[in-house]
């Protein structure tokens, strides 16, 4: 049987899932009878144990020109922060179906994903989707694909995943145009891990593509990157119902269960080989997951002890629970003078951070206070060593620092032509360096910029969306670290530095940023019985100052006999409110003040 390993890649909401479903329906399961039985089994299992079985690779068959083809459809993670994971999934393929919505046209992630596929030497089949919609412009969109990606417009297949139109042609093209898996280059087992997920019942389920040799049940295996060894207890594939196999052959795709307890033991991109007959070299391209964006999560309500379980304990449980399912974020206990106990977490990117926060709140049932995100900085010291920091408070004494490097990103923005000017202004206001400008169509353009990651982690995307009234799309990619003229800005309230408010920023806009922060603090902090200076300082030098005037108000207007109880309770309530605030340098700072620093204005 001929084998085709492929992915579907698309910009978000361009119809990837619907198309995948449609392809599965239009084909036959490898063994329909078994499949049916197993479907029932697995559904019972799900019902009984509340397990969700997620499949990252589905195997189906298709007849083409009298031959049966095994089609292995490999799913890719849905968002840009998982560029590395997407690239590993694509490595497991020989071809990719590039889906573009015929009403939306080429978008930022279309381009980014197409480039990733090309980098992995994949064959591409362009598909113009949603052609049944009234606003569809398939010819125009096919032209955009040719213009931007150089794929001839006449090669595009027009499809309606909803009605099924064009699906048979697409299946034929997959069999016809995508190449066979390449032959083995060694007789030793080499299988690429391209995804994994956690199943309460079986532990970690690993998805592999066998490049060389074959993988069998009972094999003692070794992960070449992490060095961990396991024994294979189960192999199989989803058709889309799980079907157990004795072996996964060369060029094929499937899942593996090997009594692996946590996702932390498995790294996407790692190579599986045999413990006692190991390959000499791992497959190329393995990287450790790299967290680029950091922020703190604190319980929104501050109880740290008391009779019932504390909010911090609830948060801890939620974080640990989620980490079993997503090993790509990191966490460590953090204590902030201002916000109590929480966790400093690291994420692959901005969206990843949002997703983790949302899942913690939704699945873990905890309310979270999130601090301003920061990026990871490389600090080169005078003694030649380098430390990585992801908290402004950890920055070493500047007299020991030779240089601070910050992560840079390449962004690609696709937007209507009339917004180009405003977007350039936005990017340049964020230290962006113009790299290029291309036409997608008569009315839309691609803008390329390089700029520091730190400049896009606050609200860049929101600003982009509002400038383009929702039509602009963006993709970014981390391209490395660069030395920048950075400084730590300390915020002092009534003369006392407040660690949780300090930030690292470029000297050129430190004063401006500081002033905005101080102005926000001034609004958030109540007037006290004394004047409160708010200051921003770099290395002891004050760069901005605001003042909260002393409180001068006689709120004790009248108080007679009938007012005593109510008045007393009012004072108690006010006092209670103050207790929830953080007292720093004699000043009561409400939690909101720490959040206010998050928003950035232009």
């Amino acid at each position: 049987m001929k084998v085709r390993n492929f992915s579907i890649i698309a910009h978000i909401d361009h119809g990837k899932s619907t198309l995948a479903d449609r392809l599965l329906h239009a084909t036959k399961a490898v063994d329909q009878r078994t499949g049916r039985d197993q479907m029932l089994d697995s559904m019972d299992l799900e019902r009984e144990r509340g397990i969700t079985i997620k499949s990252s690779a589905v195997t189906v068959t298709h007849e083409f020109k009298g031959e049966t083809y095994q089609l292995n459809f490999i799913d890719t993670p849905g968002h840009v922060d998982f560029t590395y994971e997407v690239s590993r999934a694509l490595t497991a393929c020989e071809g990719a179906v590039l889906v573009v919505d015929s009403t939306q046209g080429v978008q930022a992630q279309t381009v980014a994903n197409a480039y990733l596929a090309v980098d992995n030497d994949l064959e591409l089949i362009p598909v113009v989707n949603k052609i049944d919609l009234p606003a569809a412009d398939p010819d125009g969109v096919a032209m955009e694909i040719e213009q931007v990606l150089g794929l001839p417009a006449e090669d595009a297949i027009y499809v309606s995943a909803k009605s099924g139109k064009g699906i048979p042609e697409l299946l034929d093209a997959i069999c016809d145009e995508f190449p066979d898996p390449p032959p083995a280059t060694t007789d030793k087992l080499r299988a690429l891990i391209f995804d994994s997920n956690y199943d309460d019942y079986r532990g970690v389920v690993v998805f592999v593509r066998v490049f060389d040799g074959e993988l069998k049940v009972g094999d003692k295996i070794r992960m070449m990157g992490t060095g961990r060894t396991f024994t294979v207890t189960e192999l199989g594939r989803y058709t889309p119902f799980p079907e157990k196999l004795k072996r996964i052959g060369q060029g094929e795709v499937g899942y593996m269960v090997a009594a692996i307890k946590t996702l932390g033991d498995v790294r996407v991109g790692d190579t599986v080989t045999l413990e006692h007959d190991a390959a000499r070299e791992a497959l190329p391209g393995y990287e450790e997951p790299k967290q680029m964006v950091f922020c703190d999560f604190y319980p929104a309500t501050g109880s740290e002890g008391g009779g019932k379980r504390s909010d911090f304990e609830s948060l801890r449980e939620a974080v640990e629970r989620l980490h079993i399912n997503d090993a790509s974020f990191t966490y460590e206990v953090q204590h902030s003078e201002a916000l109590g106990f929480g966790f400093r977490c690291g994420f692959l990117g901005l969206l990843h951070m949002d997703i983790v926060q949302e899942r913690l709140e939704r699945e873990g049932g905890v309310d979270i206070v999130q601090t301003a995100p920061t990026v990871s900085y490389m600090v080169d010291l005078n003694d030649g060593s380098t430390v990585e920091i992801h908290n402004p408070a950890d920055l070493p004494d500047m007299s020991k620092v030779q240089a601070i490097r910050e992560p840079m990103v390449k962004i690609e923005v696709i937007c209507p032509e009339e917004n180009i000017g405003d977007l350039m202004k936005l990017a340049e206001g964020r230290r962006g360096i113009f790299k290029g400008q291309r036409y997608v169509s008569d009315t839309r353009q691609i803008l390329d910029y390089e700029l520091p990651l730190a400049e896009i982690i606050y609200d860049f995307y929101d600003k982009l969306k509002s400038i383009t009234r929702g039509y602009g799309t963006m993709d970014y990619e981390i391209i490395g670290y660069e030395v920048e003229n950075l400084a730590r800005v300390e915020i002092l309230i009534n003369g006392a530095p407040v660690e949780a408010l300090s930030l690292i920023c470029h000297r050129s806009n430190a004063e401006y940023r500081s002033r905005l922060i101080l102005q926000k603090l001034r609004k958030q902090i109540d007037r006290h019985q004394f004047e409160i200076p708010l200051q921003a300082a770099i290395g002891g030098k004050i760069i901005a100052r605001e003042t909260i005037k002393a409180l001068r108000k006689n709120v004790t207007a009248k108080c007679y006999g009938g007012d005593v109880t109510r008045k007393r309770k009012l004072l108690e309530k006010q006092k209670e409110g103050k207790k929830r605030m953080k007292n720093v340098g004699s000043v009561n700072i409400p939690q909101e003040a720490f959040m206010a620093v998050l928003e950035q204005e232009d």
């Binding site: 002891g540 030098k541 709120v555 007393r568």
Partner: protein
């Protein structure tokens, strides 16, 4: 007449208590009677009052008289020295009913009271009402003027014509009531310092014996608060309000008044003895719907629904009956006692601080910060700290909270680090 505003009144909890056991051992020094009728509900007012329905006045008076008789049986009234009839608008009662009411209340006191005050709205004080008051033994009238500016009165939904204030004062004086107090409110949205100083001058020209000057408070569940929420009115700047307060002190002292309480000024010998009972934590008996009382550490409020009160057999059921814990009671004594400009005598302070290290520390810190001071063996809030009296008091009401270390009083604040100075803490 307008419809009454549909604002929920503080109706108390559902629980009703019997006051009788507490009346048995009590010997109040003052009586407060509440007349809940108003011609119109003012938009800043959170007192219990009903827009007048004249048909209920006789029933109200009958019931009040029965309550007075019953209380006479239940408690000792030989210590009563002051009576205060408030509202509402007591002077809205028809003169014959007013006379009956006042005489009955006055007769509660075993000995003739040393002070008998009635609250009045200027537009209700006719010559007949003034004479009725005098004939009923009233020797002091507290009149709600609030402002002499029609537009500011309108903001408060106060409907009287300012021109009727001097007329009312004349009627009272002609009837022989010399002790006239005027209530004024500063900090009304839209008012200026000049407006306020003008109000003070107008009031002083009437030669009152006593003035109550309140900063406007946005009381919960009043139309004023709703208007603020809707944005139709905005509170004045707090610095301006503080300025008005300071200007009041300066002007009234120059006019021969003493500020004897945070919001009250009196000519020598003209302090309100009744209100002093409240501030000194004395005992007083309440009469009428919604009237509060305090008897030997028990605070209570009579049932605040007119119908329920009318239907009840005296003594009226009470709501919010509370004997606070000793520590809470001490907090209330601080809260009230420090309102007096004479402050609290050293022996009282010492007895309050005995076995109360937390409050002792609060007092020490505020003394060090200059917000409290000893004067003539009495502890009081210093002049400079009057505008932040609430903060000092709240530290004493809840002494376990955050007491800032090393805070310094207004004016003596080290200016912090200036821009471009090197930080060297």
């Amino acid at each position: 007449m307008d419809d009454p505003p549909s604002i929920p009144l503080p109706l108390g909890r559902d629980r009703r208590d019997d006051l009788s056991p507490h009346l048995r051992d009590a010997r109040p020094e003052a009586i407060y009677a509440h007349v809940p009728f108003c011609r119109h509900k003012c938009h800043y007012c959170d007192f219990y009052s009903l827009v007048d329905q004249r048909d209920r006045q006789p029933a109200f008076v009958d019931r009040l008289l029965r309550e007075a008789d019953r209380l006479k049986e239940l408690t000792r009234l030989d210590g009563v020295e002051t009576i205060f009839v408030g509202g509402g608008t007591p002077t809205l009662l028809d003169p014959p009913l007013l006379a009956r009411t006042l005489r009955s209340i006055r007769s509660l006191a075993t000995r003739p009271p040393q002070e008998f005050t009635v609250e009045a709205n200027p537009e209700t004080v006719t010559a007949e009402v003034a004479q009725t008051l005098r004939d009923s033994g009233v020797d002091r009238v507290s009149m709600g003027c609030q402002s002499f500016h029609p537009d500011h009165l309108k903001t408060l939904e106060r409907w009287h014509d300012p021109a009727c204030v001097p007329i009312a004062v004349d009627h009272l004086r002609n009837a022989g009531i010399q002790r006239v107090s005027l209530d004024l409110i500063f900090g009304i949205p839209g008012s200026t310092l000049e407006d306020w100083l003008g109000d003070l001058e107008t009031a002083l020209a009437l030669d009152p014996a006593h003035l109550s000057c309140y900063g406007l408070v946005f009381e919960p569940a009043t139309p004023l608060v709703e208007k603020r929420r809707l944005g139709t009115i905005a509170p004045i700047d707090e610095d301006l309000e503080a300025e008005m307060f300071e200007a009041t002190r300066e002007r009234l002292v120059a006019a021969g008044f003493e500020q004897y309480e945070i919001s009250n000024w009196a000519k020598p010998g003209e302090r309100c003895r009744h209100n002093l009972v409240y501030w000194r934590n004395g005992d007083w008996l309440g009469l009428g719907p919604a009237a509060a009382g305090h008897l030997r550490g028990v605070r209570y409020r009579q049932v605040p629904r007119l119908e329920e009160w009318l239907d009840s057999t005296p003594p009226a059921p009470v709501v919010d009956l509370e004997r606070a814990e000793p520590s809470v009671q001490r907090g209330e004594r601080w809260m009230m006692g420090l309102r007096l400009r004479d402050g609290m005598p050293r022996d009282v302070v010492e007895s309050l601080l005995e076995d109360d290290p937390a409050r002792r520390l609060v007092v020490k810190r505020h003394l060090e910060a200059g917000r409290l001071e000893w004067r003539d063996e009495r502890l009081r809030i210093s002049d400079g700290a009057l505008v932040v009296a609430d903060l000092v008091v709240s530290d004493l009401v809840v002494p376990d909270g955050v007491v800032p270390d090393g805070v310094v009083p207004d004016g003596a604040v080290p200016d912090g680090v200036r821009p471009d100075e090197t930080l060297n803490p």
